[in-house]
């Protein structure tokens, strides 16, 4: 039913309604992360697309996901539950299962960002980056064989992080460009995928072979304009194997569009 979707993101996050608050979908091979499991941001986005069908507000505002198990590609179900449909916001929940085992649970609140009309005070600036055409494509250095998501999302970086070359630098902060490879413009639900689409910056600390997300929350701060997205990512505290990752996305007009934090653990 979704084979006619123009973009991979839309085709692969769409689900079929099976009954009241129940949806079915095929977790796609196209969004696999390092290690071969399905990327966590893709799983959130699929849950949010299903939930959005039952909520009248146009824009994702905040989504919080707790990850229970990793998932491989294949058939999955999404179960939704509406907590409240209000005038200004609406909140619901989605559970994604695979073979009747729960993979992740998401709480999400939606709103209409176009009607937000309070004051604005900005205390930080967008990343200062050379234009994308003067940056490097890290996939030209190394394309992780299992990570098919590297075909769906592309990056341009002022310099390639050390871990891409096998020589971690100890930095745990980075800024770079990102977009969907097939030209799909970002929207709030797509941002929930994109905040989890880059290789974790903690890899440059050189002490971590990989990490698994425990919890990820994303806040949407504006509807994104089309074009390259400027990203800022930082991990400040790796403690006994647990680390946060803070991720900001700014659009091509220099507007903050998403802020996320995830707590991850070395498996």
């Amino acid at each position: 039913m979704t084979t006619t979707a123009r973009y991979a993101f839309d085709a692969d996050t769409a689900s079929t309604r099976l009954g009241e608050h129940q949806y079915g979908l095929e977790l796609s091979q196209r969004w696999r992360a390092l290690g071969g499991h399905v990327n966590g941001g893709y799983l959130i986005a699929a849950c949010l697309q299903a939930l959005h069908q039952e909520i009248p507000h146009p824009d994702l505002l905040a989504a919080s996901a707790h990850y229970l198990r990793p998932a491989m590609p294949g058939p999955a179900r999404i179960h939704t539950d509406i907590a409240r449909i209000g005038r200004r916001t609406a909140t619901g929940q989605a559970r994604l299962t695979r073979d009747d085992r729960e993979i992740l649970r998401v709480l999400a609140t939606f709103t209409d960002l176009a009607t937000a009309d309070g004051p604005t005070v900005l205390r930080d600036d967008p990343p200062v980056l050379p234009p994308p055409e003067r940056c490097f494509d890290p996939m030209a250095v190394l394309r992780p064989p299992e990570a098919s998501i590297a075909d769906q999302v592309e990056f341009r970086m002022p310099q390639i992080p050390g871990f891409w070359h096998g020589t971690p630098t100890g930095a745990s902060f980075d800024e770079f460009w990102m977009r969907f490879t097939d030209g799909r413009p970002a929207d709030p639900i797509a941002l929930a995928l994109l905040v989890d689409a880059a290789a974790p910056v903690v890899l440059d600390l050189g002490v971590v072979p990989a990490s698994a997300t425990v919890e990820l929350t994303v806040h949407i701060r504006n509807r994104p304009a089309p074009g390259w997205l400027a990203c800022r990512v930082a991990t400040r505290f790796l403690i006994d194997g647990f680390h946060e990752e803070d991720f900001e996305i700014w659009d091509s007009m220099g507007t903050l569009v998403a802020q996320s934090r995830q707590l991850s653990v070395i498996p």
Copy 2:
């Protein structure tokens, strides 16, 4: 049933089991925030205490709450649901209702922090503060009449923020000491209250009369040692009335114990 609890936090967050996955409690008058509603951190803590009764892991690791409506003190119910009990972590959900209307929904993951044994790399330091006895008590300047939480949690500040004097400074960053007034030591679930116990730093931007939490996530990074807690709070982006608030708590040994972010909106 909890009137014998030694500390206000324990007495007021305890609930009575009414049936399978159902609990009853009285939302206390003692944790009212500016405006007279029950403090959001207190509501999370009450949910977590109920959920913790059904989970074997000793420590809260991550909790994400979406707020649906404000609540006044009085009788409430908590409904729990266990998503997964694993070896390393366990995840569940709690819904708090008042008069059958849902007030907030929380997802939470628990673990045993004492068994965490991965690498540690710290890229930031605790707040540098004068000792509490050389700091100021903001409640000596102004005690907000409705905010009974000001009797339960006390603060010591190197300087009193401008908004306490009615003259906002435009700063949106602050560092100060905090603890329970009655001497209760903090623990992971208590930290979920404390990250939401201070007056929002956005008040010093002078453009906001008050703000209501949409979503709050807290990550517990270590079990806290007893004593005063050093706090660091920042709001970097107030956009069309929505703002994040990042809150860190460091214990008396200089160890990071909690990181939270909330998204709030001017009502």
